[in-house]
Symmetry: C2
Amino acid sequence: MSKNGLLLVGHGSRLQYNKELITTTAQMMADKTDKYLIKSCFMENSVPTVPEGLDAMRAEDLDLLVVVPLFLAKGIHVLRDIPGLLGLESGSNRGVFTLESGKEIPVVYAEPIGIDPLLAELMLKNAENAVAAHL
Amino acid sequence: MSKNGLLLVGHGSRLQYNKELITTTAQMMADKTDKYLIKSCFMENSVPTVPEGLDAMRAEDLDLLVVVPLFLAKGIHVLRDIPGLLGLESGSNRGVFTLESGKEIPVVYAEPIGIDPLLAELMLKNAENAVAAHL
């Protein structure tokens, strides 16, 4: 059965924390929906790398691949490096991805965290937790 | 009337995007609750700086200050630089903050974004939006 792939891309780090953040978030996403086959990969310092993550997706029978950068801001990784690895034309957020089978599917590139009410909610929750721990 | 202050700390950037992310998130937080007097400040490249943000809080009549790092991961800014600027002892997330009036209030230091179901929800939303834009 064909389905959509979702590749979550994290920064990676020599510290274990960043990898855990990405892989746990990927697991939480998989727990919330079965719409996607979800895998994660990393720009640097952690594995699998982005090319390895893409290769893992190539081995699946997908109809579409969406690549989601788990980054806070639109820095150089989000704006240039990841689109480059996806073979996207400059400024475009869609392209073509070729599976191992030779099948060509669309690849779309999602936004990083960015300005979002959910982020505001998350920051307020962290504030509440810190205040509650103090009391 | 005394109240709690919330200082949102962003990374800052030469690009306008990061500042907009922080200040818009601070505004969204203020729209969600009136429990806090909310201000924002930046580690580097953007103003106000963290010392300037703390001084702005000192001028208010507060009962407690909570400092919330709008960072994705526990890197050097979150683990060392911001606690240092708050005068926290190593490894502690609470301390004392002295207002201009001379009043001493507690300062508590919140967690960065981190592993959170809201982050998973946000990433799925961004994926959905990218797929929908493609269709």
